[in-house]
Symmetry: C2
Subunit: 277 residues, 2 copies
């Protein structure tokens, strides 16, 4: 029988932990006078999950509220969940998971909100997933083009059709059916990447790099741009939509809350302030 978790599990978790630090450093370079506060957490042996992680939160000048979480957990899925997770029935519910998850709500309504996630999950099967998507409240065509172009470049060396596939997946996932509207201007989303694990691990690392190159120039460009009270209001309404998506539809949020995950880590995605006019 294969070792559990696999050798790639430890390598992935090591990379994810390092990536969290790289992201923190890069965002602190843009939000110069503010530092992330890092809070490690650990689940005890009495809990549904074992393992832990580190929540890193920034309440900054440029980034009003942003969280970057690293976690590495393992445990046994409750029976009812197993059929929803590939390979979880064959593993008797046993799983291992690690990843980095980021949500950023900037102060200036000209700076887009952004989400980024990379993860590896192992049951009796093993796969990578992740993605990043941009949510401007005042979209700028050339910013959207830059974001997508940077991601497309990162996808190219992985598979010729990776970018169009992952872009379409993103558009389908980050959609609010009850509003009949997209959450933002898209990006990439991928899951269940099981084949060619070494190449896929390299791709996941490329996405981690590309995310910083895709997003931070947009924050730099707009962080000092003047804005009107009307533009701020537009931002707060858009953030209401963001809360709707995360609480109504986001699989990670719903799954995390139902499986006894860390509530503060899961709900750090919610905006600091939102309006429903």
């Amino acid at each position: 029988m294969d070792p559990f978790p696999s050798p790639l599990a430890a390598a992935s978790a090591g990379y994810f932990r390092q990536l969290q630090d790289n992201i923190i450093k890069a965002f602190e370079d843009t939000d110069k006078n503010h530092k992330f506060i890092k809070t490690p957490w650990q689940k005890g042996s009495q809990d549904l999950l074992q393992g832990g992680g580190t929540i890193a939160l920034l309440h900054g000048e440029v980034f009003e509220k942003m969280g970057v979480n690293f976690s590495e957990v393992s445990g046994t899925f409750p029976e009812a969940f197993r059929k929803e997770i590939p390979g979880a029935e064959a593993s008797g519910g046993r799983f291992w998971a690690s990843g980095v998850s980021l949500v950023c709500h900037p102060r200036n309504p000209h700076v887009p909100a952004v989400h980024f996630n990379v993860r590896r999950i192992e049951t009796s099967r093993t796969w990578f997933g992740g993605g990043t998507d941009l949510t401007p409240c005042l979209p700028v065509e050339e910013d959207t083009a830059h974001f997508h172009q940077t991601l497309e470049d990162a996808c190219k060396s992985y598979q010729p059709d990776a970018y169009p596939r992952f872009k379409k997946w993103c558009d389908e996932y980050f959609f609010l059916p009850h509003r009949n509207e997209a959450r933002g201007v898209g990006g990439i989303f991928f899951d269940y990447l099981e084949d060619r694990p070494e190449e896929t691990f390299a791709f996941v690392q490329a996405v981690g790099q590309a995310f910083l190159a895709a997003y931070l120039p947009l924050a730099e460009k707009h962080k000092d741009q003047p804005f009107t009270p009307g533009e701020k209001h537009t931002q707060l309404v858009k953030r209401g939509r963001y809360a709707e998506f995360n609480l109504l539809y986001d699989r990670g949020t719903r799954f995390g809350l139902q499986s006894g995950g860390n509530v503060d880590a899961i709900l750090m995605s919610l905006p600091p302030e939102a309006r429903w006019p």
Copy 2:
């Protein structure tokens, strides 16, 4: 075969429509300089639902954002939903529903938020449901006692054990498991009341009356009370919890959005402004 909808359906819808007007009048008496804006809506024959209703919205001085909706709709439930609704498989999915639904977010953090709903649903079975619950952000013991006492009085003539049963049901329903906290200080909640329909209809009307007597004196008492910025902040955080409950757990919200209901009417329950600090 019994007529569909039943004679009590028309009587209930007539009462609900009248109740919406009574509630509007009573709340306008407290928020003297502001009027509800009533917007009728109608689903077409192409839609999943037939029928319509009236959204009444107030953006007032005392009540920052409040909605009172009346609706009377009928149609056919999609197959996947039918097993969740009593009698819907036997009816081939056919249903009729009417009710009044109210959510009130007051401006002053000393005035509690409140929710109220009464409804009748018919499939191959027929029943009443409803309830009201109070969500203060700065709870006052004697206010909570008054709210509960008024509801207890309304339950007494219906069934000796109605109040303790419906109070317990309310506490169980309006609970945020991921926070391990109650939404507010409770009230009553009841559903699937099928027996003795005439007596139950009288009880539903008593609850409609009791709601105004239970809530409005609290609004009158606190509406001009001074408050601090810290108390306002407490209110905005509490409203974040309210949005979490409605989007994550509320059956009416989730069911309404999935069954093609009126989005504006369904999401009027969301607070005007919320914070996640």
